[in-house]
Symmetry: C2
Subunit: 158 residues, 2 copies
């Protein structure tokens, strides 16, 4: 692993778990999720995410992107989504008390012509041993920033 | 496959081949590449790309994103790159003469704080049976739009 991402090493692996989605404009939903963070020896982590509906098992969401350290206490994150949305996020990295915590906020969200309007996204992610928890807050379709997703995952492969 | 992407079906699979990169600000380079286009029954294709240096075999570039049809003759493409760049592209889809041709141009390129400046990207991709060819033109780091990448790949898995 590249030394510039060694403090992010606890993210690496395949993670599986369950999450819940809420938003004023849609029915609430529960989902099953798989997340991967991988590296190829370069100073970034590759990220993929896929969810399925917890009831029907049908594919729900997906996203892919890359996490780039900016020193040891800041990070940048770029994410593309099949809903026609790309996010560029910046924020803090903390490794206090054996926990890894990322708190990232979009500096820009850009969407395709036919996508829904998303104004801003805040992503918080914590790794504690083999458990990952994240929350996603979102301002979209005229609604103010608020909780959209939260999930807890367990590492199933390193 | 979702009926809204059936005209893009010839993209689906794993593709391998070689490409060349040029740009006024960097030494020219040759690369080995693997591209995948996959689907999960929803109206988009998931895209991944990885390259390795043709001489050293070390990882070079990667990107991931999603291709979204807008009717049968237009498409949208969102791409994230580990270099801290996200692209949103729009353009045309042609299926004339048994060839599939995509001609996509960025409506926006957004970069992270520590990334290099990229102003615009033009991506042309043609599928002819089991052969894929693409060209990437780029305006970046003060240089005008010009050829950056071209590659020819063969389908190795459907």
């Amino acid at each position: 692993m590249h030394e510039q991402i060694s403090h992010l090493g606890s993210l690496v692996g395949t993670w599986r778990g369950r999450g819940n989605g809420i938003y004023p404009t849609i029915p609430s939903f529960a989902y099953l999720e798989e997340v991967t963070f991988g590296h190829v020896g370069k100073p970034f982590l590759a990220y993929t995410q896929k969810t399925r509906d917890a009831e029907t098992d049908l594919p729900l969401h997906a996203e892919a992107g890359y996490l780039r350290p900016d020193g040891v206490d800041r990070a940048e994150f770029v994410v593309a989504q099949p809903s026609g949305i790309v996010e560029v996020l910046h924020g803090s990295v903390s490794t206090a008390d054996g926990l890894l915590t990322l708190q990232l906020t979009t500096s820009s969200v850009t969407v395709t012509n036919t996508a829904k309007e998303v104004t801003a996204v805040r992503r918080t992610l914590t790794v504690n041993g083999d458990e990952m928890a994240y929350q996603v807050d979102m301002a979209a379709v005229g609604q103010p920033m608020q909780r959209h997703l939260e999930a807890t995952l367990l590492r199933v492969k390193t």
